[in-house]
Symmetry: C2
Subunit: 231 residues, 2 copies
């Protein structure tokens, strides 16, 4: 195992709580994989190669419709894992993945993961609750897409991005077209929506940088209460 993989796995949300014994087992078989920007990592339907842990860069997980439309399910940044659901549930890759930046990942082959799950009860419980959280997140996403309009979705996403950094200002970590796809919008609509929010003074933008000026009002927009100035 390359030394890099150990570090990556130590620092990821999923495996950082492992017992020393379990960790040693994973360390034996994990390996480093590198991807260039734009490179495809796997395709929907591919056999699942194991659990990927992002060390550097950024990975985009997305679905492709027969007509070519794509929908970004989520982004994985350093410390996050992907393909873990397929590994646990023993299905093939349920979506596509590619690197949006030059990226370094640790790959834990499925067999290794399975051995740990069989032996390490605490890990198993953690995975169980981890999956439950995933379900929770997905239900939230679904709710968003189904119950809110474009403007609310954008506002909500901005608030969430912000609160995770705890400041009033942050940088969008992905291209706008990918964000648009994640929110089930076209990039045109996202562009127009951000523009309207700027015009109303709720946010300011400069390139990929976004500052929230009027959080309470933005919150109202996210909740579907169209403020008067949204004529």
């Amino acid at each position: 195992m390359e030394s890099g993989a150990v570090t990556i796995i130590r620092n990821c949300g999923l495996f950082c709580g492992l017992s020393e014994a379990s960790f040693a087992k994973i360390a034996e078989i994990a390996r480093i994989v590198r991807f260039k920007r734009g490179q495809m990592i796997f395709r929907e339907g591919d056999p699942c190669p194991g659990i990927y842990v992002v060390g550097e860069g950024a990975v985009r997980i997305f679905k492709l419709a027969p007509n070519g439309k794509e929908h970004v399910l989520h982004f994985a940044y350093p410390g996050a894992t992907f393909a873990e659901v397929a590994a646990i549930g023993r299905f093939n890759c349920p979506a596509f993945a590619d690197a949006t930046e030059d990226s370094v990942c640790a790959l834990v082959p499925e067999a290794g993961f399975r051995r740990i799950a069989d032996e390490d009860h605490a890990f198993c419980i953690e995975m169980m609750t981890g999956m439950a959280k995933w379900v929770h997140t997905l239900v939230g996403l679904l709710e968003d897409l189904v119950l809110r309009d474009a403007t609310s979705r954008v506002a909500r996403h901005l608030i969430q991005s912000d609160s995770s950094e705890g400041q009033a200002e942050f940088t969008l970590p992905m291209r706008k077209k990918d964000l648009a796809s994640h929110l089930n919008l076209t990039s045109e609509t996202l562009s127009r929506t951000l523009h309207r929010l700027v015009e109303c003074g709720l946010i300011e933008t400069r390139e990929q940088r976004i500052r929230i000026c009027e959080l309470p009002k933005l919150q109202d927009v996210a909740d579907g209460l169209a403020p008067a100035e949204f004529a």
Copy 2:
């Protein structure tokens, strides 16, 4: 414990594989709960009372938007469980639930479930993979809502409902308005869509009964290949 709850739990997908020891523990604390048609079972945000197992009837799990629009996440019929995700992940109820028919459920309080998860490794693994399957299902739902149009969604749902019974004919187990909500449509649009499918000869309907006449063509519609007659 009432005798009924034992039977219900024995026959449900989630707990039927339990070891005798684990089963005995659950049996000690499970109890029967009954709901009248239309009765609310829990509300979004309520503390999670435990895992419900449906014995008879039908339960509808749904989200409510601030503007009153509702979205049906799924239906639980005899043998199915609900609220299990919240119980495992330790969050409050993430949605509303009500009975669409007079229903009988077994309720396994969260504490009891947790004890078993702590002690029964095989059960724990089963829950883990069960949750992974849930994620898989939800991603499929999301994909459906986002990548397909109304007609494809309806066609796909019909095919799935059918294949689960393995015949060319089946009865919709829910009201059309609830199905519409599940597919993120209004009941008007569902009505019109079914009507078009009937006109094209792909299906026949009589009340809640639906017969698929041209499965291959219906499959094409589900895949977004609009057949010529869909002018």
